[in-house]
Symmetry: C2
Subunit: 343 residues, 2 copies
């Protein structure tokens, strides 16, 4: 198995990418080869300066670097010698089995849509993010790639999320819920009501019905589906409320000598909560619906984040994520056609 890694993407590239790649090879490198894309001399010098072994890694020299300031569409179309475009092109041509990058989400989304075809039944890939939940993590999609969605698109997201939850997150018979402003079937906009009906009748998912936003952070369901506008609100508001609350908590602990002592007693536990609420710790966000596996690591990923994203990529390849997803979507379409004919 060959995993393509964008060595120049992300706030801490290339150092943390190299560290994460080396850690990945050491921890779960059996039968896995990594291909690092980027400025060859920068990669080699960084590795040398920091004593990072490059054994088992192939280097592909690319002269361009896509930054957060580059226009996504222009970058995807014109920067053909960038680690992003070269990596995705190699993936398309079968010169690698998965692609991992911590670079610009926008450019990656556009480039993946342009270079790699999407599976049948999906027009644009969805950004799925594993989110912190009280019981356990849940997969949220779409997180902002598609601000407007049809009901059929939401239904396709449900299938894609289910397949990912099963194949990569290891959830058995994952449950899927649709975000809505009430538990009843009649709630929401016409699109959400229609999506509810489609998901209810969808034979390839285990539909748990509507989920109220209040219950989303419980982590009781495995996959939470919504359009990209709402998903972006959930993603960022979760982070914002947690930050605001932890800020209030800090103020409480700073009040007096006694409260400062109390802080020392629960410091470890508080750090665990902070990590749990930190999206970086959870790992990368897959772009679902592409014909080959593409994993977006958090822009501010450290070595651990990169390592975890590579692990996700490995699981995607091993579980034949894209093939399974294409089959599941095809089954859904056959079923829809059959239903239409029998009507």
């Amino acid at each position: 198995m060959k995993i393509l890694v964008d060595a120049m993407g992300g706030d801490n590239a290339p150092l943390c990418v190299l560290q994460g790649a080396a850690d990945a090879l050491r921890e779960f490198g059996d039968g896995m080869q990594l291909v690092l894309l980027g400025r060859k001399e920068v990669i080699e010098q960084t590795a040398k300066d920091n004593g990072i072994p490059l054994d088992g890694m192939e280097l592909v020299d690319c002269r361009q670097v896509v930054t957060m300031h580059d226009d996504p569409v222009k970058a995807a179309r014109k920067m053909t010698d960038s680690s992003l475009v070269r990596g995705l092109t190699m993936l398309k041509n079968g010169e690698g089995d998965a692609f991992v990058s911590a670079g610009s989400t926008g450019a990656m989304h556009v480039a993946a849509s342009l270079i790699i075809r999407t599976v049948k039944g999906v027009k644009r890939p969805a950004l799925a993010t594993p989110m912190p939940g009280f019981k356990q993590n849940y997969l949220l999609l779409d997180c902002g790639a598609n601000v407007e969605c049809r009901a059929t698109t939401l239904n396709a997201f449900a299938v894609m999320g289910s397949v990912y939850a099963e194949k990569v997150m290891g959830r058995h018979s994952p449950s899927v819920a649709l975000v809505n402003n009430g538990a009843e079937d009649t709630k929401g906009t016409p699109i959400y009501r229609e999506a509810h009906g489609l998901m209810r009748a969808n034979p390839v998912i285990r539909f748990a019905g509507n989920i109220e936003p209040r219950d989303v952070p419980n982590g009781e369901v495995d996959v939470v589906v919504c359009d990209g506008f709402v998903g972006n609100v959930i993603l960022k508001l979760t982070e914002g409320v947690a930050k605001s609350l932890l800020g209030m908590l800090k103020d409480v602990f700073m009040q007096s000598v006694v409260t400062k002592l109390c802080y020392l007693g629960v410091k470890g536990g508080l750090r665990t909560i902070k990590h749990k609420m930190d999206s970086e710790e959870v790992g990368g966000a897959p772009l679902l619906g592409t014909a080959r596996p593409v994993i977006k690591a958090h822009g501010s990923s450290k070595a651990k984040g990169i390592k975890n994203a590579i692990r996700q990529a490995r699981l995607c390849v091993e579980g034949d994520l894209c093939g399974t997803m294409e089959a599941a979507l095809a089954e859904l379409q056959t079923d829809e056609t059959r239903a239409e004919k029998s009507e």
Copy 2:
């Protein structure tokens, strides 16, 4: 000033309504008369049993009670002898200056739309909720009354929210932001992009631009505008994330004898946070856009919640909220007409 109070609405009615009403009269009853609507004998017996003085309160006997299980539209149309419908009818007829209820939000929204006319430029009233923010509370609208909104409706919400923030929340020259998945003008759905343009050109508000959901809980802006679907997500997810985090925190404090002792040291501070995050503590949610002031207290309000809702009602009357809102919306419309003519 006469404030109409639904004595039968809410989970803790009539006891907590009577207590809250009595507290309101004691604390800020100068020149204020309260009219309690509900089953007269139940009100009188409850007051007697609990030693609550009914001085300064007028009783209006209504035989029907709208419950959470009643269909909102049917309740609003047919339950003409309910405290809800009678109260709103009295408000419409000028037999009171404001109406307060902790009963069914749905029934109240429908009944208010049917019985009380809306101010010019508003088709359906919006539910506005004061939300907990890190710096200070902010007003969120719409919170779920209108799941789909046009750009002009969002712009009208901005005006309504501004007037409320100034007249009732006491904010000087309140700032208004539009929820969006990015700070740039070009972000969001076509409706949100159009709303951004309208709000940018709106002379009667101080527009702070788009606000990312991550920054909403900071409480840096006074009014946060979005459609009812997104507003419902923000309202309920804020509650859900806070609950989930406080649950994790509880687990941390329960780990050992030491952590339990630490809990005792910061118990007071934690209670303050919990109260701050608790929507009940913040007060009632006004229905904005009705021609006369209507305040929805939280369904699970205790005496304090009812008292605060009555205080809000008083402030609405004193500040001539509805008149000011109508004037501000009229100015906006004149401005729009003028702009259209000059084009």
